[in-house]
Point group: C2
Chain length 222, copies 2
């Protein structure tokens, strides 16, 4: 079962007994596009994504939706086992944004491993910390006039000016232009890349979807 070894991000940290337990208990599951993977209250296990794309979002009573996290192949989605996470008692829903194939590691197995394997425990800490950082960024976005829109507007303007869709621009230059910091711009561009709006390469930003980039740019003035 090489796919397990290759697709579970912490597999290399496991000892023989743990690997055996994982291989015996893991299930391969598929979700077709737009299917709900998990809504609040379920605690099935951690999901390692083989292909496709998952979105974790929260839905307000008024039906307003906000994307909290996106998961791509070879990342681990922990929000399908919130019973293992202290205090996470929120209504988050998870939907497959593309046809998705996943490995499901049962919550009980995950719990057993993290209590005996310190590398796995520290790995899960780093996953949580990284999500914490994502949410700090998101709060910043929500409160601070949506930097993503400002970046989109800037890229659109530059593309118009230069008559090109591949823009030679460093993150530092964009940051200077928008009165922001390089790290924040890098994070914003990485978000826009995940959304399929741009492709980011060293020293270059290519506009991948000018229509949606234009829509994003418009949001900055509201």
């Amino acid at each position: 079962m090489t796919s397990i070894a290759e697709n579970i991000p912490f597999y290399a940290f496991l000892d023989f007994e743990e690997k055996e337990k994982i291989e015996k208990s893991v299930q391969k599951i598929s979700f077709s596009r737009s299917r709900i993977v998990n809504s609040d209250g379920n605690c099935t296990g951690f999901i390692s994504l083989l292909s496709g794309q998952l979105k974790v979002y929260s839905l307000s009573p008024e039906g307003r939706e906000i994307t909290l996290f996106r998961f791509f192949p070879s990342s681990l989605c922990i929000f399908t086992a919130t019973c293992l996470l202290k205090d996470i008692d929120f209504d988050v829903s998870i939907v497959a944004e593309e046809d998705s194939q996943c490995l499901l590691i049962p919550a009980s197995v995950m719990d057993w491993i993290r209590r005996r394997n310190i590398k796995v425990s520290n790995y899960l800490g780093s996953v949580l910390s990284s999500h914490l950082s994502d949410l700090m960024w998101l709060i910043d976005q929500i409160l601070n006039k949506r930097l993503d829109s400002r970046v989109a507007a800037y890229l659109e303007e530059e593309a118009d000016l230069r008559g090109e869709t591949v823009l030679r621009l460093t993150h530092e230059e964009i940051a200077r232009h928008l009165g922001s910091r390089r790290e924040v711009i890098s994070r914003t561009l990485s978000y826009m890349e995940k959304e399929g709006l741009v492709r980011v390469r060293r020293g270059e930003v290519e506009i991948a979807d000018s229509l949606r980039l234009g829509e994003m740019a418009k949001e900055s003035v509201r």
Copy 2:
């Protein structure tokens, strides 16, 4: 040094060698009210609060501030050692909201312990998970018309109606009134209690600061 044993939340998980290392390296530090404890870029260590109150906030380029977390005695503040946290590269600032006494556990010692002690590693995971949940709640607040204001408005109205400041009300009743869930209301009340607006007891909510409660209530209509 009993104060160390009593005031470091994970002390009971430590072995002899780890306790010794903590006791040798920990420093007692004080911050007077309004003093900045840490601004971005510093990585001194984890802080265990003995007395007082710390606030972790993020500041926008326009100077807009948002409180992300508050720390009270016997809780552990990890944001003074963001070098130990994967991907936390944000500009968060920490200020003492009251005169505060703290124990500082150096980052290097903390790092050494979490790599060898699985209980500490899991404990830190639970701290991160709990913060993640706090931020999910905060995002919900920001986006969903500020439930705290709606709760404040409801409590104000009830106090006026009843002519009392101690209201016999369960969280379930408030939730029903506002079309929310009990868990969400409990969290909101706990936030309002930390802010000093109310005192929460079983089956009762007492209004502690009606002036500020009134201000919070007004924000719901904007």
